[in-house]
């Protein structure tokens, strides 16, 4: 995995609660056997009209948000299925940071496995951020994982976020989880030798 670096981008807002993984990547696209190529199906049912033309009302399709690397949503983002195709689609599309007030557990874990930073802000901060973006056609922000901050490049408004030290370091260094666990081989074998009945 690539180490996570500072990201400067505008923020694409999706003012919806409980965005589930069926919306992030509808099931008809889960049949690929690779990890890549899911980006074009991200939010498919919202992004495209019935005749498969782009839904121009949907924020991802608005010219200004086309290249956004940061996604802003509300609570319980990523609820529903465990499909890792959801973060694969977000990453493949170009999102590297998600900001929400809460996430479903499995989705939250899946993000870290794929170098996506899921930031948690308090509900009032999320409200503030939505307002800031709404009222401004220029919303360049800098996400600095090292310093755990989101900074507006326009007016220097700053948000600080909390993050588990362990997860932060893994993202910053791009550490492979499996290699990390395999260093405990001796302890795992000891455990296995002590199993009585399973």
């Amino acid at each position: 995995m690539k180490p996570f670096e500072k990201i400067t981008s505008n923020i694409c807002p999706l003012d919806i609660s409980n965005i589930d993984t069926d919306q992030i990547i509808p099931k008809q696209f889960l049949k690929r056997v690779e990890r890549t190529g899911f980006g074009k199906y991200l939010f498919y049912d919202w992004r495209y009209n019935k005749d498969k033309t782009e839904n121009t009302d949907f924020n991802l399709n608005k010219p200004y948000f086309k290249n956004a690397k940061i996604l802003l949503a509300r609570e319980n983002f990523g609820c529903g299925s465990s499909r890792e195709h959801a973060p694969w689609a977000l990453k493949d599309y170009g999102f590297e940071v998600i900001i929400a007030s809460s996430y479903a557990d499995i989705f939250y874990n899946n993000c870290f496995q794929n170098g996506i930073l899921p930031i948690i802000l308090q509900k009032d901060e999320i409200n503030k951020l939505f307002k800031l973006i709404e009222n401004s056609s220029e919303n360049e922000y800098e996400v600095d994982l090292e310093n755990q901050s989101i900074l507006s490049l326009k007016d220097n408004t700053k948000f600080i976020f909390n993050l588990d030290k362990n997860r932060k370091e893994k993202l910053l260094k791009g550490i492979d989880d499996i290699g990390y666990t395999l260093q405990f081989e001796k302890s795992i074998v000891e455990y296995e030798n002590s199993i009585e009945f399973f």
């Binding site: 919806i16 609660s17 409980n18 589930d20 069926d22 919306q23 509808p26 099931k27 008809q28 889960l30 049949k31 690929r32 056997v33 690779e34 990890r35 049912d45 019935k50 509300r74 609570e75 319980n76 609820c79 529903g80 299925s81 465990s82 499909r83 890792e84 973060p87 809460s102 479903a104 557990d105 499995i106 989705f107 874990n109 899946n110 496995q113 794929n114 588990d164 030290k165 362990n166 989880d177 499996i178 990390y180 666990t181 395999l182 260093q183 405990f184 001796k186 302890s187 795992i188 000891e190 455990y191 296995e192 009585e196 009945f197 399973f198």
Partner: protein, 475 residues
């Protein structure tokens, strides 16, 4: 201080990292959890095997790893090749991967095949006190046996394949006490829908739920599985129920359940798998079900639940701006008018199946409602999809298939089917379905499809009438 059921299972599975003091300190509150059983299916495993291949890693414990095909398998014409090329490819990949890495596979020609969360218990793979994972959020189902079972993503599937372990933070604990007595015409599905309505879809995020109380003890193992299955719809990491004599009776003499000395040792431990009287939970909730009414979901989230005697809400009922928006959005998507009576919601199709409600008891309940009756003309299709070949065989032995067919229902081969509509069992745009499954998200059963979650008996009755009815008046 006493321990909860969850803590007893959790602690038994922690790998001791004293050999690595520096790393142990670095991990802080995180632990290395050993996994006893890893279940796989065709949709969330291909990329995990690919990862192993790329890094030259092996499956550490093939004997603790079992695979099935369920998500996109066809439920009819199985003698013919699978028509959808990509589905076929995914199924072939699983076969190839299992062969290459030495994993036991129950493919669609195997008698042991079925939905992963139905066959685990059926085969005796699911046992009290085990840690169980699967790349599927409804893995929580297995907690009905007192196992700690939860869904994981594909990277974690690869992690477990390679290491048989996961790095985990200890979740919080919540106990739900179901008190009172379940009225006639109500089922486990109504209990769990009522709970999700109360908690919301994120109400249990970060928690492992223990379901307790007399009403849980009264439930069959099938009912308990239905309850634990939908723990994830309340956001929980897992749901658990302490094993009792019903549990032990269910698991003994299954193909993979332990025997002899192993069974004796296991049983001695299983008897201790209950929360101590002085155990402390981070949260406790009581729900009395004596006055519960049949539950149905009206919207696009599993917590959008109403009683059959109620009406669809109006946006004014939202407690804040956000909730009002959610209700408006769901009303628009489901094309329902606010204040529509629940029993005036008309259906195009009905689906009885899924890892929530496709077990023998579910099929018996549905069949008992419709015996000697016919589906409504206006209902275009009623699909009955058993959870496994064993369920199918048992149902046929009892003549349930005949009851369904005589009512004009379709009796199919096992699989996930229309719960997530990855195969041909999919709703047409705009169609409305009564479904015994677990999610009513936008587009879940097909683009622009509308899903109402109910118990098998409620779904069967709706098929007969063409709209929802109060099942209590039917029996």
């Amino acid at each position: 201080m006493g321990k909860t059921l969850f803590e007893k299972v959790w602690e038994k599975h922690l790998v001791n990292l004293d050999n690595y003091p520096k790393e142990k300190e670095y991990l802080e509150d995180k632990k290395l959890l050993y996994i006893d059983l890893h279940l796989l299916h065709e949709v969330t495993s291909p990329q995990a095997f690919e990862g192993l291949r790329l890094t030259g890693r092996k499956v550490r414990k093939p004997e603790k790893t079992f695979a099935t095909m369920d998500h996109n398998v066809p439920t009819k014409d199985r003698d013919k090749p699978v028509s959808d090329e990509i589905s076929r490819k995914q199924m072939e990949f699983l076969k190839k991967n299992c062969l290459e890495f030495g994993v036991t596979l129950f493919d669609i020609n195997s008698y042991d095949n079925g939905i992963v969360h139905v066959i685990g218990p059926e085969l005796g793979l699911t046992l009290p006190g085990k840690t169980i994972v699967c790349g599927d959020s409804h893995t929580s189902t297995h907690g009905a046996f007192g196992a700690l079972a939860f869904g994981i993503g594909t990277s974690e599937v690869e992690h477990v394949l390679a290491t048989q372990c996961l790095i985990q933070s200890k979740p919080k604990t919540m106990r739900i006490n179901f008190t009172g007595k379940l009225p006639k015409g109500l089922y486990a599905k109504d209990m769990i829908l009522a709970l999700i309505r109360k908690l919301g879809t994120a109400g249990a995020t970060g928690y492992v739920i223990e379901y307790a109380g007399d009403a849980i003890k009264e439930l069959s193992m099938e009912g308990r599985m239905t309850i634990c299955n939908m723990s994830i719809e309340a956001g929980a990491k897992a749901g658990m129920i302490a094993p009792d004599q019903k549990t032990f009776d269910y698991i003994l003499s299954r193909p993979y359940s332990p025997t002899g000395d192993k069974l004796k040792k296991a049983m001695a431990w299983w008897q201790t798998l209950k929360s101590d009287n002085d155990a402390i939970f981070d949260k406790e909730i009581e729900l009395n079900i004596s006055d519960l009414k049949p539950q149905i979901t009206w919207g696009t989230s599993p917590d959008m639940v109403i009683d059959i005697t109620e009406t669809v809400p109006s946006p004014d009922e939202g407690l804040n701006e956000n909730e009002k928006n959610n209700i408006s959005r769901a009303l628009k998507y489901t094309e329902l008018n606010e204040k529509t009576d629940a029993d005036k919601i008309y259906l195009d199709k009905v689906f009885i199946g899924s890892c929530t409600n496709s077990r023998i008891e579910d099929l018996r309940e549905a069949a008992s409602i419709i015996k000697g009756r016919k589906k409504a003309e206006s209902v275009k299709l009623v699909l009955v999809v058993p959870g496994s070949y064993r369920v199918k065989e048992q149902a046929e032995k009892e003549g349930l298939d005949k009851i369904f067919k005589e009512a004009g229902f379709e009796w199919r081969e096992p699989g996930c089917s229309m719960c997530l509509a990855m195969n041909d069992d999919i709703l047409e745009p705009g169609e409305r379905c009564a479904s015994t499954s677990n999610r009513n998200f936008e587009g879940r059963q097909g683009k622009d499809s509308k899903t109402h979650l109910v118990s098998p008996a409620m779904a069967a009755a709706a098929a007969i009438h063409g709209h929802f009815v109060d099942i209590r008046k039917e029996i």
